[in-house]
């Protein structure tokens, strides 16, 4: 197919609904949930849940059907779809509404993606069916630990098999779990926990485990107070002899030496991070667009608008800034759409996913900071949302790998270097 920048039809159609939700449901309570950290945006959750469970049902059905066809890992894309770019548009729009509220969307989320990527058909059915009906539910991914941020090989949460009960026994602590409390305490959800079967093996010893709400020995210990995205649930979870069924391991329990070809399960599950990076970028871009649109509108009220095309010496300093912000936003957006389109086409996109994450995280951080400044006291005031968008935006340069980590990933890819060659 030739180069084409047309928004796919189905994605366009979805846009109207999303815009309505963003404007009518999210924007209106944006400030409230920023000021009432740890309260839940129930209007949004209840509104969006019917759509989410329908989507979850379709995904699950689709995945099981593919599995039936013998495409076991459920990860092959036979033909171009618009699933990823659709998600990118959706997330951008919802984050334009409110990034913190968007993050509270009830769904299987990253946990679901990991289960879809490496779960057996039985596991998919068992774990993901709950997301297709009933009350709103959340899935969450628990990776980060107090002493292991980007360095996943430093993870110390242990998983040991108790041969008597044939259960996995988990011990350790996870932090920065998005929607962790919603998943474990406020719904019949689940989390995917990364734990090591053998710390001496580094990454090769690690496995993802599904921990369902109500599992014994699992405690949500702390809800974080954050700079921004305060509507989003971020918690610490402690595992003290937490017990889960043997079948809750994702992928094979057999271990290989480090350096040996990493097994498919691990890689597949890790790939959920690759696929989530364009989503983080999209969320950043939604916030950036919100801030830029608002700033343009306010400045237009003061008589400052951006010319379609003008020589530099005809521009004011503020016009120049607006043009630069617009260009940065567009550049990041195109990189993000490209990363999504590649995945939709069934092509590898790990490089492009990190590229868009780096660009969007950095651009939107700068854009929102500039918007606050351009609007003077009104930008800095909590009477308007610009200051909030600046706080919300910053998370995107941090989570799912900081800008530095993602730049490192890009660098390794373009140089063809291993982790060892380029630390």
């Amino acid at each position: 197919m030739p180069i084409d920048f047309e928004v796919p039809e189905d994605v366009k159609n979805q846009g109207n609904l999303t815009q309505m939700v963003a404007e009518q449901v999210m924007r209106k309570s944006s400030r409230y949930y920023d000021e009432h950290e740890h309260e839940r945006p129930m209007e949004y959750i209840n509104f969006i849940w019917p759509f989410m469970k329908t989507m979850e049902a379709a995904n699950l059905k689709h995945s099981l059907k593919r599995a039936d066809k013998g495409n076991g890992n459920g990860n092959g894309h036979k033909k171009a779809s618009t699933a990823q770019v659709g998600m990118i548009h959706l997330i951008e729009s919802l984050s334009w509404g409110d990034a913190g509220i968007y993050l509270s969307t009830p769904s299987s989320a990253l946990a679901g993606a990991a289960i879809q990527a490496v779960g057996t058909p039985d596991q998919k059915e068992r774990f993901l069916d709950r997301f297709t009906h009933g009350e709103p539910k959340w899935g969450a991914m628990a990776m980060t630990e107090p002493n292991a941020g980007s360095d996943t090989s430093a993870i110390r949460t242990r998983a040991k098999l108790d041969p008597e009960t044939n259960e996995w026994v988990l011990n350790g602590e996870k932090i920065f779990v998005t929607n962790g409390k919603l998943a474990l305490e406020e719904s019949d959800g689940l989390i995917v926990v990364w734990a090591t079967l053998d710390p001496s093996l580094g990454r090769a010893g690690m496995r993802p485990f599904v921990v369902e709400a109500g599992a014994p020995g699992v405690t949500v210990t702390k809800q974080e107070h954050k700079l921004g995205i305060r509507a989003s649930d971020t918690v610490s979870i402690v595992f003290e002899d937490a017990r889960i069924p043997y079948d809750n391991i994702l992928g094979s329990p057999e271990l290989k030496k480090p350096g040996a070809k990493t097994e498919k399960g691990f890689k597949g599950a890790m790939r959920t991070f690759d696929s989530s990076r364009p989503f983080v970028a999209a969320s950043a871009l939604g916030v950036g667009r919100a801030a830029l649109e608002f700033t343009r509108q306010k400045l237009a009220e003061e008589g400052i608008t951006v010319p379609e095309a003008a020589p530099y010496h005809k521009l004011s300093a503020i016009q120049r800034d607006l043009i630069q912000m617009e260009a940065d936003l567009k550049a990041a957006w195109l990189l993000t759409v490209r990363a999504g389109a590649l995945m939709d086409a069934g092509k590898p996109n790990s490089l492009e996913a990190s590229m868009c994450k780096v660009k969007a995280g950095k651009s939107v951080t700068t854009i929102t900071q500039k918007c606050v400044e351009l609007l003077g006291p009104l930008g800095y005031s909590r009477e308007f949302l610009v200051e909030k968008w600046m706080r919300d935006a910053k998370i995107n340069d941090i989570f799912e790998g900081t800008g530095q980590i993602n730049t490192l990933i890009v660098a390794r890819r373009i140089l063809g270097y291993s982790r060892r060659e380029l630390k």
Partner: protein, 365 residues
């Protein structure tokens, strides 16, 4: 000839303020931010340091002399501690310094001794306005001469502790003089109303208010500088230098915090400061902070020498705004997820840094 050393007295001064910042402000900043309230005893302790009396000559009840450079040294150390507390503590200066710089002899004799008491005076400056395109040289609030009085109208923003103020220094566009002038307005003043407490992204412990002026009548003798009025640039130069120095202190705090964190925090088997991406960010922070401090010092030194420091103060303010934002943002970045939560101070410093351009009166973006 070029020297960049503090005198012994300056070193004692900065050491004293630094101790206050470190031992007092750094202990209370988070609780104050989250509760939106500064402990009164903290400001009292700060007042007891005698920073304002030390910047006024004996003639007016003080025991020192006005020095923009000393002011910058103090402001940097305070900024290193906490911005909300710094601004609360420096709020009386925003009234006293303009009186000292631009007041008539009589105004100085009358008002300045108030600022040398054991109790902090209840005085508030009203300069900024709640508009997007704020222009310190063309204020929207107006002062119209009517007989032996001026009539003030307009809206002001970010007036610190306005409800308690017994004396306002209010800036307005003097229609006849066609320039910004300042007026000493004791309370209660008919037509002056104080709005709700304002809500800002940062320094939430600081209490600021909007102030509305509806035909507020002020005796003509209360115009600062009397018949001659004021050159607002003198006041702007002085406040730009002080605020820029505050920004340097803020940036330094963030840089040091990030540096120490980066040396402690281990990832991939080594402290993250072993990585060039982190180490280079820190190096650039250090360079930018030093450069900004030198620019602030030079502007202050020029001001103290009686030279024209307007452009220097303007450039320093530009740099301070930019650098304090860049450094605090970088500090959040160095701490990663930990920088984003309200346990570490860096997220607050980033929010506070972003206020500088606004506080400086749109001097720079």
């Amino acid at each position: 000839m070029y020297t960049f050393d503090l005198t012994d007295e300056q070193r004692m001064l900065t050491d004293m303020v630094h101790r206050y910042s470190e031992r007092t402000l750094r202990k209370i900043y988070r609780e104050a931010e989250e509760s939106h309230e500064l402990p009164p005893e903290v400001i009292e302790q700060g007042w007891e340091l005698g920073l304002l009396p030390a910047s006024l000559p004996e003639d007016y009840g003080g025991f020192g002399e006005y020095s923009a450079l000393n002011g910058a040294l103090i402001a940097e150390e305070l900024g290193y501690g906490d911005m909300a507390a710094s601004l609360a503590l420096l709020a009386p200066n925003l009234v006293a310094t303009p009186i000292y710089l631009c007041g008539t002899e009589e105004q100085k004799q009358t008002y300045l001794p108030l600022f040398t008491d054991a109790e902090p005076p209840k005085a508030a400056s009203a300069f900024l306005e709640p508009v997007i395109l704020f222009d310190p040289y063309q204020l929207r609030a107006t002062a119209r001469r009517e007989g032996d009085a001026y009539v003030l109208n307009g809206k002001k923003a970010m007036v610190i502790n306005a409800p308690e103020a017994e004396l306002f220094l209010i800036y307005a566009h003097d229609e006849k003089a066609d320039s910004p002038q300042a007026f000493l307005v004791p309370t209660p003043a008919e037509g002056l109303s104080i709005g709700e407490r304002e809500k800002w992204m940062g320094f939430n412990a600081l209490k600021t208010f909007g102030v509305e002026l509806k035909d507020v009548r002020v005796p003509a003798v209360n115009r600062l500088g009397g018949a001659a009025g004021i050159d607002v640039q003198r006041i702007l130069n002085s406040s730009r230098i002080a605020l820029s120095a505050l920004g340097v202190g803020l940036a330094r705090a963030a840089y040091e915090y990030a540096r120490d964190y980066a040396k402690e925090r281990v990832a991939f088997g080594e402290p993250i400061a072993h990585r060039q991406s982190i180490a280079f960010m820190l190096a650039e922070m250090a360079i930018d902070i030093d450069a900004t401090r030198l620019m602030v010092w030079e502007a202050a030194w020029k001001l103290d020498k009686g030279q024209n420091a307007t452009h220097d103060a303007y450039l320093a303010a530009r740099y301070a705004t930019h650098v304090s934002l860049k450094v605090t943002d970088g500090a959040v970045q160095v701490l990663g997820g930990h920088g984003y939560i309200r346990e570490h101070p860096v997220e607050l410093w980033l929010r506070n840094a972003r206020s500088l351009a606004t506080l400086l009166g749109a001097v720079t973006v």
